[in-house]
């Protein structure tokens, strides 16, 4: 049994020394906040719509950083957003989870039908970015520039006077279409997958 004792002592002491070293390092190299959350949050579109299943973009960012959420849950961010996340986190690109979180739509803004609006301020309270102007009992308007299109104001409106309309295209914001549709090696991809 002396062999056992020797072995235990030798390794135990080695381990103890290592333990002390690690314990010291844990304090010496302590990391306060996780800057990765900020970086993830900076990629998210800040629509604050909650479609990802979290209470806004930052909570979702935190969930991603903690490894609890997939990176493909934000429809407003679309493919580009997922790509940016995959890039940041060194993961593989995965297509948007449309089944659970919805499709990526073009940019929309809310418009309040000023004829109907009763000025109840409920939409103002719902809007996460303060994009709705108006005082109680006066009709409200949406500042188009500020509206992120999150649709959060639709639900609370008691008189259904808010509509989402697509932002019209103009030549300065027009985007060249990708020529990919015409490539012969992907020409019939749609039929292949259909």
């Amino acid at each position: 049994m002396t062999g056992v004792l020797g072995a235990v002592l030798a390794l135990g002491l080695l381990a103890a020394v290592f333990g002390l070293l690690l314990g010291y390092a844990a304090i010496r190299f302590k990391v306060e906040s996780d800057p990765v959350v900020d970086q993830i949050n900076a990629i998210l579109p800040q629509t604050q719509c909650g479609q990802c299943g979290y209470a806004g973009c930052r909570p979702y960012a935190e969930a991603i950083a903690a490894g609890e959420a997939e990176i493909n849950q934000c429809p407003p961010g679309g493919e580009a957003g997922i790509r940016a996340l995959a890039d940041l986190l060194g993961r593989d690109f995965v297509p948007l989870n449309e089944e659970e979180h919805g499709e990526h739509k073009g940019r929309m803004v809310a418009v309040i039908d000023e004829q109907i609006c009763i000025g109840c301020t409920l939409c103002i309270q719902a809007c996460p970015v303060d994009a709705i102007l108006g005082a109680a009992k006066h009709m409200h308007t949406v500042i188009e520039e500020e509206c992120t299109g999150c649709e959060l104001c639709i639900e609370p409106c008691p008189v259904d006077c808010i509509d989402m309309v697509p932002v019209p295209e103009d030549i300065n914001q027009w985007r060249w279409p990708s020529p990919d549709e015409r490539r012969i090696d992907i020409a019939d991809r749609s039929t292949a997958s259909g």
Binding site: D185, A187, D188, R189, A192
Partner: protein
């Protein structure tokens, strides 16, 4: 009046993938004919088997992947892969050798990556190396050149050997096949002979191995034509041949009894085929001008290292694959200086 719209530029040149590939095939003709002349019908049998398997495999894969078959086959790249693979095979290989090699080249090395343009490795060389490491015996069934052969197989006899494995009565395959000059040097050096002794044999010509030197000259000629036509750029062949030459020269100068002469290296094995036809495969080679030089030189040096000290007599295929592996990295580090970004 309403018009259809397209994106600029609306003009386009005469360059075309199909034209490119057919040009390369044409350029390989002199070498092919010389190979047939020196090494017999087996060369052509391999060619037919490899090319038809390549085309068949490509068509089958395209159909399975639901890609347009006819247009894609029309570009001739599959046929070219088969041609180059066949040129690398020993003339007495049984039929399944070119077939298996072609399948590997097209299915694994090319189509699994998405087909023409996407494969990181040279398909023909993948096919060749797979065969080389898997069937070392079959892959050394080289023929002696024309005049050195005791007997030559006719076309029918060659076909019988390739397809059925039968030889005319009284001949054994070991009797009619012969090791290549590079192989001979490698094994005999291992037995302690000096190069002068080894190269005294009749199978060595004035430049490389007898017969081999002519085939290499044929490919050099074709390669020159490709350069002239602008199908390939000078960097890769120059880097390859230059790298090989300089390495060979250094060691030859140091010890000419164990290291063969630079010219011998340039005109042996697959040196010229490799330099002008294989290393230049645009898809798997480097694309930046400086990168191409690095790529070529890298292949040249690796060929020499493998020939001189490695386990295989000729290293062109391995060297090409090894440098293929480094291509994305080379490309990354040899980006040209962009207009307006300092320096001259």
């Amino acid at each position: 009046m309403e018009f259809r719209t397209y994106s600029s530029p609306h003009l386009s040149g005469t360059n075309h993938v199909g034209r490119l590939m057919r040009g390369v095939m044409l350029a390989a003709l002199p070498g092919l004919i010389l190979a047939w002349w020196f090494f017999g019908w087996g060369v052509l049998v391999n060619l037919v088997l490899a090319v038809s398997t390549c085309i068949g495999a490509e068509a089958a894969m395209l159909r399975m992947r639901r890609r347009p078959v006819r247009v894609t086959l029309g570009d001739g790249s599959a046929a070219l892969t088969g041609l180059l693979l066949a040129l690398a095979l020993p003339p007495f290989a049984p039929w399944w050798i070119p077939v298996l090699g072609a399948l590997f080249a097209i299915v694994i090395a090319k189509q699994l990556y998405g087909g023409l343009g996407y494969n990181p490795f040279n398909p023909a060389m993948v096919g060749y190396v797979v065969l080389l490491i898997s069937f070392p015996r079959e892959m050394t069934l080289w023929a002696p050149p024309q005049e050195l052969a005791d007997a030559r197989l006719s076309l029918v006899q060659t076909l019988a050997w390739s397809l059925l494995g039968t030889l005319p009565a009284g001949t054994g395959i070991d009797a009619i096949s012969m090791a290549t000059p590079l192989d001979t040097i490698k094994t005999q050096l291992g037995l302690g002979l000096t190069l002068t002794e080894i190269q005294a044999g009749p199978r060595f010509g004035s430049l490389g191995g007898y017969g081999w030197e002519w085939v290499n000259l044929g490919f050099l000629l074709g390669g020159g034509w490709l350069l002239y036509r602008g199908t390939i750029q000078w960097q890769i062949p120059a880097g390859f041949l230059g790298g090989l030459f300089v390495m060979a020269l250094l060691f030859y100068a140091a010890d000419s009894d164990t290291y063969a002469s630079p010219l011998f290296h340039l005109f042996s094995g697959a040196a010229m085929l490799g330099a002008f036809f294989i290393a230049t495969d645009p898809v798997s080679a480097s694309t930046t001008p400086r990168g191409r030089l690095v790529y070529g030189i890298g292949i040249g040096i690796l060929v020499y290292i493998i020939r001189a000290w490695g386990g295989y007599p000729d290293g062109v295929a391995f060297a090409v694959l090894l440098m293929n592996m480094a291509v994305p990295t080379i490309d990354y580090y040899t980006q040209p200086r962009v207009y307006g970004q300092g320096g001259e």
